[in-house]
Structures are given as structure tokens and as C-alpha cells.
């Protein structure tokens, strides 16, 4: 008998790994990304590829420079890249997309310690940085299935039909237009147990109610812009949203209310990114507010201590 292996209990682990979770998120994003590529042409696919590859490259480089274990295989950088690409207009210059990846991976994620330590969603921060830095290229949209420049997204024009919004037959960022594909991806993640419905329901529900009360068409507003992409894929990011179900719900409600306020009263037509970023900052407080109540826990701590 050779040296026996010693391990602390438990000696068994469920096979699911971080990489598999990221892979499922990646798969869930694919339908919307594919529709985006079909709608906006081959350049959309190139933009997404540039984002994914540059994100993974920056992740790889950072880990080497920081002398930390390589984490490129956990696919989190690939998911960030894909999300970022889906959040960009099709005609964005490639170098700007690479700047976006840099902001996402290097500035937002690795400088804070890598996966699990970033306080805000990398793709969201990157999108916002690009939006305020390169306003023109970030707000130049193309008509679906043509090379013509669109005057505005459906959020501004208010002219798209429900069917167009569902099928993604509108102007907008590459991955945000097709509601059906996004919802399909969300359902896949729900069924696979990767995400909980609390944040998306809170987000979309609050936003729809506020919009309705303000006298606008809630369905149209929910289906247009980046709301579904944000609610399903970014407000459910593990690292930058609360852990408990009630925390997630509060997070979603906050996102929905902020998005409504920005869209209704703000200077930007789109408010999803800003609202998620603002709520990201509140996550530590939401986590503390929504601590679980342990089984059998008593309200007075001192009493329990004296018994021990």
C-alpha cells in the first residue's frame, strides 16, 4: 500500500465547477448573440470575437504580470467579452472594443483581485466608459439587415412593432435586440439552476409597473433597449449582486426603479447600465440587510454565548 491520500471531510464534491457555470452562461447568451449577428451582418460577429479574444488575452496577461494562478480556463473572461460585445453597436471601431475589454478585465476585474473580487460588473463598467468616452460611435446604430444608418433605436423612435422587438428586427446593440432569444437564454439558466428568478422579476416587474403608472406602454419599454439583456444576464451576475433571494429581489427592484427614472427623467435614452452599476455599489449593504436567519438562531447573542 502506497501513501494514502488524506483529505478533510467531505471527501466528495459535486462535479459542477466554476468553469461549467460560466460555460452555461456563455451558452445562454449565444442565441441572442447569433440573432444579433444575423441581423447586423458579419461585422457583428467580428466585434463579438474581438471582445472575447481581447478579454481573454487581458485576463491571461494580467494573471502573468500579477504572478497569480492562471484563471483563463474558468471562462469568466470569455463571458465578460461576449457580454461586452453584445452591448456594443455593430459599427464600433475595433480598437474601441479592445479598450472596452481592457476596462472590463484589467481595470474593473483584475485590479480588484480578479474573479469574485470585482465590485461592479466588468461589462457594464466597460460599456459605460465607452459610452461617455466615444459617444458618437456608441450611439450610431445600423438598420437591421442593411448598411443604412438608423436614425434612432426603438427606445427613442417609439416606432417598432412588438413583433420586431421580439424577433430583434430593430436597431440597437448587437445582442440586446431579440427579446425571444434573451428570454430563451434566461429560461435555460433558470432550468439549469444557474440563476434565481428574483433579480430579473424584481427588475422587470418594478420597471413595468413604474412605466405603466407613468402612462407609457410597459411592454414596449421592457422589450426595447438593453433591459432584458441587463435584467437576465447582468443583474444575475453572482459576483456583483446580493447572495440571498431577498437581497436579489431588492437589487432587482432598485435596478428597475433606477432604470425607469433614468429613461423617464434623465438625459440618456437608456438607463439599464447606469442603474445596474449604481445598484452594484449597494450590494455589500444589501447583503448585510438580508442575512439569512440561521436555524434555531436566537435574537440575543449574549444569551447564547453564556450557554457555551
Amino acid at each position: 500500500m502506497k501513501q494514502l491520500h488524506i483529505s478533510p471531510a467531505p471527501h466528495e464534491r459535486r462535479p459542477m465547477t466554476t468553469m461549467q457555470i460560466m460555460l452555461r452562461v456563455f451558452i445562454a447568451l449565444l442565441p441572442a448573440a447569433v440573432v444579433g449577428c444575423l441581423t447586423f451582418g458579419i461585422r457583428a460577429a467580428v466585434v463579438i470575437a474581438v471582445c472575447i479574444l481581447s478579454s481573454m488575452f487581458f485576463e491571461f496577461l494580467c494573471r502573468i504580470l500579477m504572478k497569480r494562478p492562471q484563471t483563463i480556463t474558468d471562462l469568466s473572461a470569455a463571458v465578460t467579452g461576449l457580454l461586452l460585445g453584445m452591448n456594443l453597436p455593430v459599427d464600433i471601431p475595433f480598437w474601441q472594443a479592445v479598450v472596452g475589454s481592457f476596462v472590463a478585465i484589467v481595470v474593473t476585474k483584475q485590479l480588484f483581485g480578479g474573479l469574485g473580487q470585482n465590485f461592479a460588473n466588468p461589462a457594464i463598467v466597460a460599456r459605460i466608459v465607452l459610452l461617455v468616452s466615444f459617444q458618437e460611435s456608441m450611439t450610431t446604430w445600423r438598420m437591421p439587415h442593411s448598411d443604412a444608418i438608423a436614425s434612432a433605436t426603438p427606445l427613442v423612435s417609439n416606432e417598432a412593432s412588438y413583433l420586431d422587438l421580439l424577433l430583434g428586427n430593430t436597431a440597437g446593440c448587437i445582442g440586446e435586440t431579440c427579446a425571444i432569444a434573451l428570454i430563451l437564454g434566461g429560461v435555460y439558466l433558470l432550468v439549469r439552476g444557474i440563476i434565481s428568478p428574483a433579480a430579473p422579476i424584481g427588475f422587470i416587474g418594478t420597471f413595468a409597473i413604474c412605466t405603466f403608472l407613468a402612462g407609457n406602454d410597459p411592454l414596449y419599454q421592457v422589450l426595447s433597449g438593453g433591459l432584458l439583456l441587463g435584467a437576465i444576464f447582468m443583474a444575475t451576475d453572482y459576483v456583483t449582486t446580493p447572495i440571498t433571494k431577498s437581497g436579489k429581489l431588492l437589487f432587482g427592484i432598485g435596478c428597475g426603479a433606477l432604470t425607469f427614472c433614468i429613461r423617464q427623467f434623465g438625459g440618456y435614452p437608456e438607463g439599464v447600465s447606469f442603474s445596474i452599476l449604481l445598484m452594484n455599489l449597494l450590494v455589500p449593504y444589501l447583503d448585510r440587510m438580508t442575512k439569512t436567519k440561521p436555524f434555531g438562531a436566537m435574537p440575543h447573542r449574549k444569551e447564547a454565548k453564556s450557554h457555551e
Binding site: M1, K2, L4, H5, I6, S7, P8, A9, P10, H11, E12, R13, R14, M16, T17, T18, Q20, I21, T71, D74, S76, G114, L115, G116, Q117, Y238, V239, I243, T244, D287, K291, T292, K293, P294, F295, G296, A297, M298, R301, E303, A304, K305, H307, E308
Partner: protein, 433 residues
């Protein structure tokens, strides 16, 4: 009633249909002077002494301690320090068997007329919880709090282990008699037997035995690990919540493992103390998975050899189940009273932890509804305030959090380390004052 969290495990109860085999009397046994939670015993015999089966060879020191009896007849040849898997050194007696298995002449069934008699008998029998924890049974029976419900723990929620299941299949009457014995002398009105739904034959056997007994009820529980954890089974069978820092007795419940209960009855009939126990031998390195009736102190190596294990292929040995058992550095150690399984595996997995992604799966799996990721973070920051705030002391070390963690973080291990850290810092605080 809300169900507590837990995890679904692959049961792999390969041995549930195998009749228990009597393990042949070993050539020698090594009997540690501590096989329970509580102080070690003082050896009552010297090197060269002749001992008989059931003879008391370890005198308990302190309330929580129970006596230790010889499991063979023969000669004490050595007193060695035995390194337990938890690292502590325990003096233990090596007894070379003469093969006679002569019983100690003093053994006689105890006369039991009261609760005090039962408590004394339980202690004299050397009885500890046979489910794995090794908690002295007489302490539970002696509880001062008024007890109205007896919960019999037959959940056996760990994978592989079937020793309790075989107890039910082979000697269900002992269990029922044991229940009635305890109920009678402790004046307990009702009894619930909690058993996981994955043992239909055992459930039927118990239900048949309890058919005409209206105070005893079999509660079939979902096969959700850790169903057999004390607080969990109390809640799922009675609906009672054991508050923080309290015992099950504080909510009027006495919990006994099913095999412990059966042993108590056996002892009152024969007067033979705890010198044998049923143990499951399984794992992919074992050629013939089985349940064995083994003399306490038998070498694990002999037990594995009997079950035809492959010594060259074994990579990991475990005492107890894969969720809470301890892994052994060597098979050269004795089987103690509280060990319900010996598992041998040919495969091990190198587990490399990666960063926590805050998925919250540990929290969703925790039966105590704790937040293991927060506790781990607090431990790494050596933040004793946060450890208490997140109720570290409620952790039952069931292993669910580590089991589900996709980042493979050693959460359960961190909880244990954190508990020790809190103890140490409390001690330091005292010594400063």
C-alpha cells in the same frame, strides 16, 4: 412545515441486502482507552494480565466517560500510545486472544426498575452513540429536562453505510423492545422513528413491527443529506426547533440512534457490554462489500482483508461516510465503538480551490441556513465578531457547503478551523485578564 436545506447524494448502499456476517475472532485487538466524547479511561489491567470477554479494562474518569471492556479473552501484552485520526494520542491496550472467547464470570443482566437504574446500566454497558458521534448514551438518558418524545434516528443519510439498515432488517424486535424499555423508564409518551425513504424494505419491516403499537410511529423522511443530523431529524420528525446553544432535551426530545437503542435492550437481556458492533465495509477497492459484526479493537487492515480489498490499489481509506468520515493515514488502527463504516477507494481527486464567485450555493445547501461564504471570509480575516454574528457555532460540520461549492473551496474545513480559532482567542482573552 418548511423543509431544511440539504443536498442529494448518490446513495450507493450496495450492502443493504447483505446479511451481516460474524467476523472471526481476531488474533489480537488493540483497544483505545477513549472511544467516546469525554475524558479517556484509566486502564484497569497490567501487561501480562489475563482478561475475558466483557471484562472492564478501562475505568471511566469523569461524568462524560464510559467504561471500556475487553472484546476478546486473552492476555494483555502491550500498552501503546495510539495516534487517533484527529491527531491525539490515546493509550490503548493490546490483547492477544486465546481463541476461547471466555466470558467474564461477573456478567449478569442488570435489574432495571427506574430511570436511575437505566442510566447506570447504560453507563456500565459502555454504550455510546453507534451512529458515529460517540456521545455517551447515559448522559442523554440522564437529562434532567422533561422529555415527552423519543426520536429514533434510523436516517442513515451518508452514502455506502447500511449498518443501521441491517440492524432493522435483521433484529427489528430489539429496536422495538429498546424503545419500549426507554419509554417505560423515562416516562416518555410517544416515539418517532425517522428513516429515509431510500430504504423501503427497512421501512416496511419497522412498520410491521409497530403495527399494534400506537405510541411508536415510523416517519418516512426524504433522502436528503444530512437528514440524520440531530437537529435536522428532530425538526423533521417533531417540528421542534432546537434553539441556539440548547440541547434536544431542552425541547423535550431524546434522540437515540437505532442501533444504540437495540444494543441497550440486548444489554438488559444478556449483560454483555459493548464489545462488538456492526460495520459496513465498502468502496471500490473492496472486493466483497459487506456488513460485519466486528469485535471492538480489531485492526482495520484485518477487516479490509476479510472483505477482500486490494492493498495495492487503495488510495484512500475512510472511517465513516464520505461526507463526515475521517480519512486514515494507515489501515493499522483499531475499529472503535463509534465507527459505523470502513471505506476503501482506488481513486482520489486532487481538489484545487479557486476564487469564490458568490454563487450562494453553499448557503442554499446549508441545513442550518448559515452563510458559509461569509463565515469563510470572516475566518480568513480573523474577524471573530463576524464569525459570531454569522453564527459559526451553529455549524454542524455536515459538509454540504464544501460538497456543492463550484469553486471547490474548503468551506467545511474553514468552519472547523474557525471554531478552533474562536476557542483559542477566547483562551487568550482569558489569560490576558
Amino acid at each position: 412545515m418548511k423543509r431544511l436545506n440539504g443536498v442529494h447524494l448518490s446513495h450507493r448502499k450496495h450492502t443493504e441486502d447483505h446479511l451481516t456476517e460474524l467476523f472471526p475472532t481476531p488474533k489480537s485487538v488493540q483497544i483505545p482507552m477513549q472511544m467516546h466524547i469525554g475524558a479517556p479511561c484509566k486502564p484497569l489491567v497490567k501487561i501480562g494480565d489475563y482478561v475475558t470477554v466483557g471484562q472492564k479494562i478501562g475505568e471511566p474518569l469523569g461524568e462524560f466517560s464510559v467504561p471500556i471492556h475487553s472484546s476478546v479473552s486473552g492476555t494483555v501484552t502491550e500498552i501503546v500510545d495510539f495516534r487517533a485520526p484527529n491527531g491525539s494520542l490515546i493509550p490503548s491496550l493490546v490483547i492477544v486472544s486465546d481463541g476461547e472467547q471466555a466470558f467474564c464470570p461477573d456478567l449478569a443482566p442488570p435489574e432495571i426498575h427506574s430511570k436511575e437504574d437505566l442510566v447506570a446500566a447504560a453507563r456500565e454497558s459502555g454504550c455510546v452513540g453507534l451512529g458515529g458521534a460517540g456521545f455517551p448514551t447515559h448522559i442523554k438518558l440522564a437529562a434532567k429536562q422533561p422529555i415527552d418524545t423519543l426520536v429514533i434516528n434510523a436516517a442513515e443519510c451518508e452514502p455506502f453505510i447500511t449498518s443501521d439498515c441491517r440492524q432493522i432488517m435483521e433484529f427489528p424486535e430489539d429496536i422495538i423492545q429498546g424503545i419500549q424499555l426507554v419509554m417505560k423508564h423515562l416516562h416518555i409518551k410517544s416515539c418517532r422513528i425517522g428513516i429515509e425513504e431510500n430504504k423501503p424494505a427497512a421501512i416496511k419491516r419497522l412498520a410491521d413491527c409497530c403495527r399494534n403499537l400506537e405510541h411508536i410511529e415510523v416517519r418516512v423522511l426524504p433522502a436528503l443529506y444530512p437528514q440524520g443530523a440531530e437537529k435536522v431529524i428532530v425538526y423533521h420528525t417533531t417540528g421542534r426547533i432546537v434553539p441556539e446553544g440548547k440541547l434536544t432535551a431542552d425541547v423535550g426530545v431524546l434522540v437515540l440512534n437505532v442501533s444504540t437503542c437495540a444494543f441497550l435492550y440486548q444489554y438488559t437481556q444478556t449483560g454483555i457490554p459493548l464489545t462488538q458492533r456492526r460495520v459496513t465495509v465498502d468502496g471500490d477497492a473492496v472486493g466483497r462489500p459487506c456488513n460485519l459484526m466486528v469485535h471492538i479493537g480489531t485492526s482495520i487492515r484485518d477487516i479490509l482483508a476479510y472483505a477482500q480489498y486490494d492493498p495495492d490499489q487503495v488510495k484512500q481509506l475512510m472511517l465513516g461516510g464520505p461526507m463526515m468520515g475521517v480519512s486514515l493515514p494507515s489501515p493499522d488502527m483499531p475499529l472503535c465503538k463509534q465507527h459505523n463504516a470502513v471505506l476503501a477507494f482506488t481513486k482520489t481527486k486532487q481538489i484545487i480551490p479557486t476564487a469564490c464567485i458568490r454563487c450562494g450555493k453553499c448557503m442554499d445547501a446549508c441545513p442550518m441556513n448559515l452563510m458559509p461564504m461569509e463565515l469563510e471570509r470572516a475566518y480568513r480575516a480573523k474577524d471573530s465578531g463576524a464569525l459570531e454574528e454569522y453564527r459559526l457555532h451553529l455549524c454542524i460540520s455536515c459538509g454540504c457547503c464544501s460538497f456543492v461549492c463550484p469553486a471547490k473551496r474548503p468551506l467545511t474545513e474553514s468552519m472547523l478551523l474557525a471554531k478552533n480559532f474562536l476557542l483559542d482567542s477566547a483562551k487568550k482573552g482569558e489569560s490576558k485578564e
